[in-house]
Amino acid sequence: MRDIAIEILYTLIILLMLYGFITALTFVLYFSSRGHIDTYQDSSYFSNTKPEYYLYGRGAGLVVRGRELLASDKKQIIFFGASTTVEGFRPEVINEHDSTVVVHNCAIGASNITEIEDVIDLILESTEYAEREKLHLVIGISYVLLRPDSELWPAGKTNIQAEMMRYGIYNHHNKRNLSNIETETLVNILRPVLLIDSIIHRMILDPVFNIALYINNKWLRPMNFLITDNLNDVVVTEDYKNYVERVMHKRMGTEDDTIQTEQFNKLIEIARKTYTNNIQLTLVDLPVPQWHMSRSKHFSHYQKMKVDYFNLLKTSFNTNLIDMQFMNDDLDFYDFAHPKPMTSIKWSNFIGKKLLINNSDDQIMSL
């Protein structure tokens, strides 16, 4: 019995030493951060210019656990949306238009307005009331963002809500267990776990996922045009265009290819929250390629529905609107919604000028 206890004690001491060593190592390796959140995943793996990827995770995880990066006494512009926004707006490029502002991209792939609202709630929770007027929230919206909750979150929880429950930061009722400082302390304590998790994702899961994606794109779906080293060179095929119609018919949750009002109503809620918190909200009406605009019934219905909602947002909640739908050149997209890397530079410069260069007549586009 005594011998068993001694061996367990030695083991625990070694574990603590090992844990402490890895924690210290993370502070040495990742001593700085970029100072902003960007959910865009690029291909550089072990670059220590992006330490927050290793410590906080990606996508939803980065947003939930990396919110300390939002702590700034500067004016902040935060982008929200789905994958089109993730890929379309580069904070570094936008920042070139005004370095006094901090630009974040908190968009999360495969999102809808419900999840955006979750993210905004987290942002508000992390920001003192007096500091909120320095926030400018920008939502990149298209019809794809309006997928109903029943289709996107069949388990009843968004990715953000699932991430919130990790590590006990929030409980199962989305009530916070820990304050901002306690969360930051917990994240620091969990550094070795987060780091190992990140390395496993990059070294094992990502390659497996990429292989599965390759097999999927090459043989199972007509996406083999995507198997290329350079997304800038992609040209969409006719088979793919037909495939998109079939898939979106299933994904949008209606038999008649119309858009439901559920997500628009959530958008109204977001506008109400930002308005009462003295936060500026801007909607960016994102483009889809011309070929998809002409074929998609969902897009047509969205165009009709949005008029009244956008008017309501503008008149009742002082929401700005930036229309980018004219930027719909087919060659700018590598599929039905996502901009090519070269396009994101174009989009980022465009939006940077609209948001940051003081020209109020150009900024607000009325319907």
């Binding site: 011998d3 061996e7 083991t11 625990l12 070694i14 090992l18 990790r166 969990l190 776990v193 199972l220």
Partner: protein, 481 residues
């Protein structure tokens, strides 16, 4: 009480302290009884929910007492069969679908293993392998021993008492033995919390609905999904069960009690029958001694002509595995597939011996390609059989006709078998390479705490897997049998 809960860890810690500090026989016996009852009580939410279990347990003791008193085989057989029927009624097997239901909600955990132990006691008492009287406390301590209560392993009473005696008086622990036992416990937890949790996620996330939505719903796609699920589920079951075994065997070792092993590299099995000598070995051994041997003896007594020996063997295997399958699940598909597998395997062995002769069979058994193919199709047969435990076979039969399902089943079995054979071949090459590399690395004298470092790393993996997962840790599958 879940094996992966902090309460279980606390319970085991207290058990080790309590059992290590007593050495007087009577006190040890009562201490063990207390621990066993404490452990069992954690599976019941109220006294009323424990009543069916208590009734069954006490009935078992009554049956054991009958074994001491009765001399007539037929009467004893009636008593045992009645006990089995009571078990079937409480477990609500389809045999008793007509019977009135028990009105309280209750747990049936551990009851199967109590049944096996009681039947073993009765047979061994009757043929005087156990002569000494078993009192109620020894009976409960044997049938409800907390380490093997949930899902075995099934120990013989004689071995159990011998082990308890050794555990009571052995208080000096060898350091290497302690470290090996702790390592085994931690490995068990890694298998359950990390590996089987990941595999469970792969089954539930990429389920049939996912495949239909993302890939398609044709017959070929459904067959691919079936093959994928069969393979992943089998590997999940392996890690789930062996993880549990590692935990209980490791803890038993720390207590000074050696539980028998339940697994012996089942992936190396070259035939269906060999598989069951390597997988859940104590269960197979129990069925061999108390069911198969008895059945063969009975049939041989009825059909005395030597030409019936082979058919008797084949039939006995078929029936034995039919019962094993039915024990796993009241759905008849698994029972039929296991029975069929055993029958065909035995038939093949007999035919091969007659047609090919011993020399050729020996050469064949030494052929690497043949060995790998046998391993592959053995494993794939087990995989596609076991998955029928939980997929809706009736729905498949309703959607596709019987002939299509059979053809798909056979095709999946063979193709999956070839894939398994190839994977086994690759793994064996890797293991050979690993052994060679290990031999080349100089045997550097390591510092004294290196084994503790290895344990610390395992503990970190357990911590990591527990923290990062959002899904609940999968339950121990065999607890439900």
């Amino acid at each position: 009480m879940s094996f992966t809960s902090p309460i279980f860890v606390l319970f085991i810690t207290l058990s080790i302290i309590a059992l290590s500090t007593v050495c007087i026989d009577k006190t040890y016996k009562w201490m063990l009884l207390l621990l066993n009852l404490l452990f069992i009580s954690s599976f019941f939410s109220s006294i009323s929910s424990a009543l069916p279990f208590l009734a069954f347990l006490l009935s078992g003791y009554v049956v054991v007492l009958f074994a001491y008193r009765l001399n007539m085989t037929s009467i004893l057989l009636v008593v045992v069969v009645s006990f089995v029927l009571l078990f079937s009624y409480i477990k609500q097997y389809t045999l008793f679908a007509w019977a009135p239901q028990i009105s309280v909600t209750f747990s049936v955990v551990g009851m199967s293993y109590i049944l096996f132990r009681v039947i073993h006691l009765v047979v061994d008492i009757y043929d005087e392998s156990i002569k000494k009287r078993i009192d109620i406390i020894d009976y409960i301590n044997y049938t409800c021993f907390f380490l093997s209560f949930v899902s075995g392993p099934i120990t013989r009473y004689q071995d159990h008492t011998e082990q308890l005696k050794e555990a009571k008086y052995k208080h000096e622990e060898d350091r290497a033995y302690i470290l090996k036992s702790l390592s085994r416990v931690f490995s068990g937890y890694i298998k359950i919390i990390a590996i089987s949790a990941l595999l469970y996620f792969l089954i539930t996330k990429f389920n049939q609905e996912y495949w239909i939505l993302k890939v398609g719903s044709s017959g070929v796609i459904t067959s691919c999904w079936f093959a994928y699920t069969a393979a992943i589920y089998f590997i999940y079951l392996y890690f789930n069960f062996t993880g549990y075994m590692d935990i209980v065997v490791g803890i038993g070792n720390l207590l000074g009690y050696r539980l028998p092993e339940n697994f012996n590299q089942p992936f190396r099995s070259r035939s269906f029958l060999e598989f069951w000598t390597r997988w859940h070995m104590t269960l197979s051994e129990w069925f061999r001694i108390y069911f198969f041997n008895s059945l063969v003896k009975y049939l041989s007594g009825k059909l005395t002509n030597p030409r019936y020996m082979i058919p008797i063997g084949i039939l006995s295997y078929f029936i034995t595995f039919l019962v094993i399958g039915y024990w796993h699940t009241p759905e008849l598909y698994l029972a039929f597939l296991l029975g069929l597998g055993a029958g065909i395997n035995k038939l093949y062995q007999c035919l091969a011996k007659n047609l090919l002769g011993r020399k050729l069979i020996k050469r064949l058994n030494a052929n690497t390609l043949y060995i790998h193919l046998c391993r592959g199709i053995t494993l794939s047969y087990i995989m596609v059989s076991i998955v029928t435990m939980w997929i809706n076979v009736d729905a498949l039969l309703a959607k596709y006709n019987l002939a299509s399902v059979i053809i798909s089943f056979v095709s999946v079995w063979i193709l999956l078998g070839l894939l398994c054979a190839f994977c086994i071949f690759l793994i064996e090459r890797f293991l050979v390479l690993y052994t060679v590399v290990k031999l080349c690395v100089p045997n550097i004298k390591y510092f004294r705490l290196r084994p503790n470092l290895s344990l610390a790393i395992k503990l970190f993996i357990i911590l990591y897997a527990s923290i990062i997962t959002l899904n609940p840790i999968p339950a121990f599958v065999y607890m439900g049998f």
